[in-house]
Each structure stands twice: as structure tokens, then as C-alpha cells.
Symmetry: C2
Subunit: 337 residues, 2 copies
């Protein structure tokens, strides 16, 4: 492992993704990526009596499928790095509690997939672990209930609001004999708080953190946006993506619009699905990355990508106490061997 | 780094604690460890308008003091590993948001100090980071409000209940020229759920996880309890500690009672302070370890200790949905060079 500049860690080139799975529920399976998900549930209840249990079941499905695709069993996994948006991260813990795998709990709000992937990569690349899983989940109904209002209330959502994806994703990382998708570099972001206070506009709260991480990453690595087949943000949605272009163009003279896409804009069809500014939630980036994107990489359609997942580090309590919304963005660079 | 057995990681012997601080508030500063805390606040409000902001301020104080004691400034810290009990871990994020340090968010409930310390150690020992901080916090009033009832309700607490410490702790880890306290080994625990459902008896919920981690650790390293000057659990309190002895004795034929102590039993005087089964909360283990214990190690009174912090991975929602309480316990072995 080698530090590049102030922020980036270059790994050995031996840490790779040996299996992955993205799973989703009804609305996601009616969207543009339907055929790429590794498993879809016909409704958002996932056969469970509560939304929280449904989220845990989604999480479990993604992890078990990823382990299966890696040709492993849970007893061959050294560690799982997981977290989610639910209070005390119970979406993850209750999903994985019966797997008997050493567990490192992570919290990065909607950046959790990339945070977990980056942390797990450091553990695997350093030899601390031979195999590790990174996973996360989110559920529209458990998130609305917890962060805004229970669905039964019938609250109106603003045009800037995003729809939390009912989805989960998991990736198995291994060391040696790299085959397919390699984790080439990782970067842990810094908190950026530009004073945004509107909890119905997560894109605006998170865009400054994404801009900072992307600018720092390109500077440290001496690369340009065109060096990547794709710069993929987690879930800025429509509002946040436009703001990201503007911030990078005005402050850094960087134009990423030609190579950028956002998981929140990919998972739903904004013209024909009632999702306002797009998708969001930990499970959005996780499911899109671990199914659609990794499939495209394995087909050779994408050879080098920079994934930047953003998180809004607020809680309903902090917003009610008139606090602004701190944002963070973590990055991983993935290449096909 | 080297794996020992199925669970333990032996580090290089070069990763050490270059600075640490434990800070606390009123009730803690009236307890037995008063003179060992690096800073105490005269009341639980910490000069802030809300309990949540008070917790963030506590967290900030611990981190800034630890950096100062390490002879560093925030710009020389490569990464901070932090988390806490508040929903969406806002105790940590709002405490550190202005420090401009790359941030890895962790969630391990009351095990967070050892989880963060263990994760940060792997990063530093592997060369991924040169300097890293592990920190956490808790606040009696923010925890009661969130997990049980607002204080104004005047709810009765059961004899098995523990008092969340209003405290925080932080440690700075560095690589090379080891001086003082070295992180010798780390272990990430597995979730253990024995079906305990009483959210007013955290000790009982967490003791099985502590027993498993201690038994696995001793087996993997081929050591006995007497090989340690102290086996320190995070915050099992009185009920949990008794259960831990019983579980280890009956199931594993291991007697740790001669070398064991628990931060939850050390931070308060149960005979003269109204704290029921003892102290708890992430900040309990963090503040006791980073002030009292590290001071004793630096004085040479303790040369080799095993710290096992436990977490109860529940939320109020999971308890209301009739779920049992999964527990976890992470471990670090510290030695004085």
C-alpha cells in the first residue's frame, strides 16, 4: 500500500472482487436496471411483518448471494464491513447476525457502500484478512418512517426530494490471483459542511463533499476526468448532480459532465416513475454498483471507473435543532485486469 | 501483520498510542476516577443548549486534547475512526466536523472505542495511515432521551439498568519509534444473540458476546487469564460481569475473576452513587481506558492488558418489534514497551 498525495491510497493490485450481488424490490425492478439486479422481490414487504425486518432480509439476501457468487460459504469469510441508515444500523446487524462472521460496523450514511468497500480493501490488501465482505442496504418505507413521516401520513414530498431505494448490495473481496475487478485505489473523505439546512434536499447537502473528494482525488493522482470510463457518484440525484458540475466547473475548472453518471439517476426512470429528484439511500449505490456496474465491467464495457459515494451526516434531531447538514464523500477506483 | 488462529491479528509491535484523553462530566467527576480524567466539565450541559450538542462538545474536547497530548495538530492526523450511540452517529460527526480530518464512521454501540481502536490499528500498522485517531462519546441525557424516556418524564429505572456515562475518550495512534503503550494484537468479534429481550438489562445481553470473544482470544493466542495484568471489559456493569464469570466458568472452565475489572464498575461508586448496575455507554470504556488505564500503564502498574468492549446492537424499534438483542465484543491487547 502506498500513499499518493494527501488523500489517496494505492493498493497492491492484488485485491479483487470475487463475487457481488445487488438486490432490489418492486419500484426498482420496474426501473431501467431491472434485468441487471441479481435478485428482485415482487413487493416491498419482502415477506416480513415490518419494514425494518424487510430491510434486514434484503441485506441478508445480498450478502448470501454475493458469497455464493464468490464460490464461498460464510465460514470462509474473515470479516464483514456493513452499515446502513437505520438507527443503530439495525438493518445490517439483524440481517447478518446469524452468519457467524466477524463484524466491523460502519456508518457513512449514503456513502456506506464505498466506505465499507474502501475499509475492507485496506484490510484485505494489508493481509489482515484474506476475504472480506462490504455491504449495505436501505428501504424506502423504513427510511421515510424514520427520517420523515410514516407512509400512512401521506406527506407531500418536495421536487428536490429523492426516493430511498429499497435495495441492498454486497461485494466479496479477496487477495491474490486477481480476476476481473481490482480495487486499485481508495480515498477516505473529509466532512464538508456548507451550511445547507434543508433535509428535503440531500443532493445540495452532499454535492460539495463530492466536489471536494473528486477534485482532491484528481489532483493527488494527477489524472483528468477523461482518464476514467466513468465517474460514478452514489446518489446525488438530479439536483445534486447539477450542483456538482457547477461547483467543479466554477471552483476547480474541472468538467466531469462527459464521463459522469449518478446511481440515483440510473436506478429509476425519472420521466415515468414518481421519484422526484431520483434515487437515494445506501442501497441505491450498493445495488447499482454491485449488479449493473460490475456486470458492465466484467463484460469489458468499463475498464477504469472512479466511484464516489456521498453521505449526509444528519439526523432528524440535528435538523430539528437547527443544525446544518455535514456531507462526506469516499472514493474507490476500480479497474478491470 | 499476522493471523493467529481464527480470530486474532498480531501487529508489528510498531503501532503505539502517542496521546490520549478521557473527559467526563459531573457525576463521573464525583466518582472514584475523578482525578484521572484529563478534563472534567462541572455540569452535564457542557455549555450547550441541547444534550446532543453537549455530547458533540464532549467528543470534540477528548479528540482535541488527545491530539495536543500527542504533540500534533489536526492537520497532521491522517484519519479519524469514530462513532457513538446517537442515531446516525451525530455525537461524533458534529463533534469532529470542523477538524478537516478524513473520517471513517464506525458503529459498534458500546463496543465502539475498541472497535475504532482495532480498526485504526490495522490501518496504521499496515502503513495505510501514519497517524490515526480512535474516539467515541456518550451522554446520559441524550441516551436516556433517545433509548428510553426524556429525563423530564421521571421514569423509574430497573436495578439491572446501567447509567450511560457522560464522557468521551480519544487515542492517537502512530507507527514507528514505539514509546509507551503498544497495540500488540486485535480481534474483531462475531455477533452473539442468546435471545435476551430486556432492554433494561444490557449486561445480560452483552455478557455472552464478551464470554465468546475472551474464550476465542485465549484459545487462539494460547494464553491464560493469569498472563494478563488485567482483563478489562467495556461496560458489563455488575449484572453482566457476574454473568460473564458464570458463562466462562461453566462453559469454558475459564476463571477470569482474579484479573478482571469492568469500566462500568470502575467509573462510578455503586454504593454511594445512584447508578444501579454501574456505568455504560461508549464513553464509559473510552474515558476510563484513555485516562485512568493508560495512566496506570504509563506508570508501569499494568504491563499487559486485554481490553474487551461489548456492544448491544439493538435499537428501540427492534425491541418494540419483539426482537432479541444481538451482542458483540471486540478486543485489543495492549502492552507497555
Amino acid at each position: 500500500m502506498q500513499r499518493i498525495g494527501k488523500n489517496v491510497l494505492k493498493l497492491s493490485g492484488q485485491t479483487y472482487i470475487s463475487g457481488s450481488a445487488g438486490v432490489a424490490a418492486k419500484t426498482e425492478s420496474e426501473g431501467p436496471l431491472a434485468s441487471d439486479f441479481d435478485f428482485t422481490f415482487p413487493d416491498d414487504g419482502i415477506g416480513q411483518p415490518t419494514w425494518e425486518k424487510a430491510e434486514s432480509e434484503l441485506h441478508k439476501k445480498a450478502v448470501m448471494l454475493a458469497i455464493e457468487k464468490a464460490g464461498r460459504t460464510p465460514d470462509k469469510i474473515d470479516c464483514i464491513f456493513a452499515g446502513d441508515l437505520l438507527n443503530q444500523c439495525t438493518g445490517s446487524t439483524f440481517g447478518i447476525r446469524d452468519m457467524n462472521i466477524p463484524f466491523v460496523g460502519m456508518y457513512g450514511a449514503c456513502s456506506t457502500m464505498v466506505l465499507s468497500l474502501a475499509a475492507a480493501s485496506v484490510f484485505v490488501d494489508s493481509g489482515a484478512m484474506q476475504t472480506a465482505i462490504a455491504s449495505t442496504s436501505s428501504h424506502f418505507c423504513s427510511a421515510e418512517k424514520q427520517f420523515r413521516f410514516p407512509l400512512e401520513y401521506g406527506g407531500q414530498r418536495t421536487p428536490t426530494a429523492q426516493r430511498t431505494a429499497t435495495a441492498a448490495g454486497a461485494a466479496v473481496l479477496e487477495y491474490g490471483k486477481p480476476d476481473g475487478i481490482i480495487i486499485d485505489k481508495v480515498m477516505f473523505g473529509r466532512i464538508v459542511d456548507k451550511g445547507i439546512t434543508d433535509p428535503n434536499n440531500m443532493g445540495a447537502a452532499m454535492a460539495p463533499a463530492a466536489a471536494r473528494t473528486i477534485a482532491d482525488y484528481l489532483t493527488d493522482t494527477g489524472t483528468k476526468p477523461e482518464d476514467y470510463d466513468l465517474i460514478l457518484t452514489g446518489d446525488l440525484g438530479y439536483v445534486g448532480s447539477q450542483l456538482l458540475y457547477e461547483l467543479l466547473q466554477k471552483n476547480e475548472n474541472i468538467d466531469i459532465s462527459g464521463v459522469h453518471n449518478d446511481c440515483g439517476l440510473m436506478i429509476f426512470d425519472r420521466d415515468n416513475q414518481d421519484v422526484h429528484a431520483g434515487g437515494s439511500g445506501c442501497g441505491c449505490c450498493a445495488s447499482v454498483l454491485c449488479s449493473h456496474i460490475f456486470k458492465r465491467m466484467r463484460k469489458g464495457e468499463l475498464k477504469r471507473i472512479l466511484v464516489v459515494a456521498t453521505g449526509a451526516l444528519l439526523s432528524p434531531v440535528t435538523s430539528m435543532q437547527n443544525e446544518s447538514i455535514p456531507g462526506i464523500a469516499h472514493a474507490v477506483e476500480l479497474v478491470v485486469s
